[in-house]
């Protein structure tokens, strides 16, 4: 029982990282119709920035500053590299973001070096008691922070004027433009939100082991998550993120006992297997909108 709860908590913690990343992916997808492969680089950039800032300022301030900086970076990328591509096939734009990812990552890697850089989170690996069971503080904090952020963002989309504009653009860009919505501003804002979320996700990932050059690979796990939840569903991204996190954690904990022939690191591929299995039944993910096509 203790093991199960700890395993679930770890899953929810990791899952909330995936959820944050996936949320960023989906916001960009909804506004521009593009999967941004630059998210891993933005996540890495954010985490590295925190490791540098944390030496001079308080950890929480460092996270806020880094999130703001990465949001600016993301806005710059959108304005300079992606804006000229409006109207081109989405696949081509997605590949451009792949190029952006490579460039940013090389620059950021130069600031990581070969060592592991500590992110300096105050809670570190310390544990706390939840209903009498020992769980890691960081997983609890990751989960709760994610839920709060997601709630804030949902409220923003639901109640604010800008949120309404973003929903309008997601619904139909041309109609939104005709109503006086600045579509360019919406694009920039969605990249900024995605960048800030990626930074926070990056900090969460590196609270345990620190930042190294391989950190970005974790961000790729958000890809099966967005497909599982449905590319254009914000709620789906959060739910699928948590589901993938928990499934992965369960497989990592119990997989070796149940099916040892699958190998020790089978948990690494479970996100993709879950994604494929679900897609065979539901081609647009769990909550994605079915595409209506006319000739």
């Amino acid at each position: 029982m203790t093991e199960l709860v700890q395993c679930l908590m770890r899953g929810l913690g990791d899952g909330s990282v995936y959820a944050l990343l996936a949320f960023g992916f989906v916001i960009i997808y909804k506004s521009m119709g593009v999967i941004s492969f630059a998210q891993p680089a933005l996540m890495l950039a954010g985490a590295v920035l925190v490791t540098y800032l944390v030496t001079t300022v308080n950890f929480y301030l460092a996270v806020v500053l880094a999130a703001a900086a990465v949001a600016l970076l993301a806005m710059g990328v959108e304005r300079t590299v992606l804006r000229p591509m409006i109207g081109k096939p989405v696949f081509v734009i997605s590949i451009i973001t792949l190029g952006v990812d490579i460039v940013i990552r090389v620059v950021v890697n130069a600031y990581i070096g070969l060592d592991v850089r500590p992110v300096g989170a105050p809670w570190g690996l310390s544990t706390t008691h939840l209903l009498g069971i020992e769980v890691q503080q960081r997983h609890l904090i990751m989960f709760l922070t994610t839920m709060v952020l997601v709630a804030i963002l949902f409220a923003f989309f639901r109640y604010s004027r800008m949120g309404l504009a973003m929903r309008a653009v997601a619904f139909d860009q041309e109609v939104a433009l005709a109503q006086g919505v600045s579509v360019g501003l919406v694009f920039m804002l969605s990249w900024a939100i995605a960048g800030a979320l990626a930074t926070i996700a990056g900090v969460f990932v590196s609270t345990g082991a620190g930042v190294d050059q391989q950190l970005w690979i974790i961000a790729l796990k958000a890809l099966p998550v967005i497909i599982l939840g449905g590319l254009d569903s914000l709620g789906g991204a959060v739910i699928a993120g948590l589901v993938i996190g928990v499934v992965e954690s369960l497989v990592a904990t119990y997989g070796a006992d149940i099916a040892p022939w699958l190998g020790g690191e089978f948990a690494l591929v479970t996100p993709y297997l879950v994604m494929m299995a679900v897609l065979l039944v539901r081609p647009y993910g769990l909550f994605g909108t079915r595409e209506v096509i006319r000739i």
Binding site: M85, I95, V103, V106, I295
Partner: protein, 373 residues
């Protein structure tokens, strides 16, 4: 008779029949250019050092893979980020068939090149045909991510299956190549091993490029293009979507398998880690930089990407702020990676038709010279 005389001498680009227009080398310029390129490529065997020749040979093998990706992504419009997975299947099939039966890893000692090459292609094609039904159900970016999943799953399987693929960090020996009873991957009486293998890969590239070009201008090729341009409309005019998507994936994977089988013959060893996301991205970069839905573009792109590290290595001599050492300043490896990303971005922003598009522009300029504007 008169009309053919006329087309040959009087009006060189006046086509009087459809088959003339669709001919492989439909202009004199193309005939001359292809001929010159082939002679040049053959002359390379004897005129450049083995280390450059090795790069060119790798480029030829990668070009076969790039043509394969262009068939499914360029011609049929089905975005695949899983090309590395099919390359891996080809590489392992060939290596297992030709491997040493008494070695550390699985092997059957069937070392004849045509046999393991076709087997590698066939097994990859089978895998491609099995994946294709996913492409029938999924569209666009959903498909891209799912095929990306294949790469991760494949890598995991090959890493865990150590009897076949060897330990993850050491890998297994590459295919052993014999042609009609003679080993061609060891130095021969008149040619070095790299020269022999370069010739083999060049010949195979020409064969496979020709086959792909013919596929593209056949009924099947037109069906694939129709699916790319508007799949629902294609279905309405009678293109069987399922069938054609299966064909596209199977043929593309066949090419990938062949490329995988050839790719490691020169370096002689490979690991499961070779077939990662980066390889898939490289193939995508090749066809985007070379030219989408063109065969010559795929070849240009593959050679360009293969030679890029070599070009980047020359940069420190020109730009002194790039350091050659592994630490401090901007290193060559970093420059190479950044160039890579910038090239992808730059080509897509400024020349979406890739190197092929540049070539077309240059050609058109000289075609109308001195009245080009």
């Amino acid at each position: 008779m008169t009309s053919s005389m006329q087309t040959r001498f009087g009006r060189p680009e006046l086509y009087t029949s459809y088959s003339q227009d669709m001919a492989l080398l439909n202009t004199t310029g193309k005939k001359v250019f292809v001929g010159v390129t082939l002679v040049f490529a053959l002359a390379m065997t004897f005129s450049v050092d083995d280390d450059v020749l090795q790069l060119l040979a790798t480029g030829c093998a990668l070009a076969i893979g790039a043509i394969g990706l262009n068939i499914v992504t360029g011609y049929a419009g089905q975005v695949s980020l899983g090309h590395a997975f099919f390359v891996a299947i080809g590489a392992y099939t060939a290596a297992v068939l030709s491997g040493d039966p008494d070695g550390r890893v699985l092997g059957f000692a069937i070392t004849e090149v045509p046999i393991w090459l076709l087997a590698a292609g066939a097994l990859s094609a089978l895998a491609g045909a099995l994946v294709a039904p996913l492409a029938v159900r999924l569209r666009g970016l959903y498909l891209a991510i799912v095929t990306l999943g294949l790469v991760f799953i494949g890598q995991y399987v090959f890493r865990e299956w150590t009897e076949m693929a060897g330990p993850p960090d050491i890998g297994r020996p590459a295919p052993v190549a014999t042609l009609f009873g003679t080993r061609i991957d060891v130095d021969g009486p008149s040619l070095t091993r790299v020269q022999q293998l370069y010739l083999l890969m060049l010949v195979l590239l020409v064969i496979f490029a020709l086959l792909a070009r013919n596929l593209a201008r056949s009924r099947t090729g037109r069906g694939l293009a129709a699916i790319r341009d508007r799949d629902i409309a294609a279905a309405v005019i009678g293109v069987n979507l399922t069938r054609y998507k299966v064909i596209a994936f199977a043929v593309s994977s066949f090419y990938a398998g062949v490329a995988g089988a050839l790719l490691y013959v020169i370096p002689q060893t490979f690991t499961a880690g070779n077939f990662n996301l980066l390889m898939s991205v490289q193939f995508i970069a090749m066809i985007l930089i070379g030219g989408v839905a063109t065969i010559s573009g795929s070849i240009m792109g593959a050679l360009f990407i293969t030679l890029l590290p070599r070009i980047a290595a020359q940069l420190p001599a020109v730009l002194p702020f790039i350091s050659t050492s592994a630490t401090g300043g901007i290193t060559v490896v970093q420059v190479e990676a950044i160039l890579y990303g910038l090239l992808i971005i730059g080509f897509l922003l400024f020349e979406p038709k890739g190197l092929f598009g540049i070539w077309i522009r240059v050609r058109n300029y000289w075609k109308a010279w001195p009245f080009s504007y």
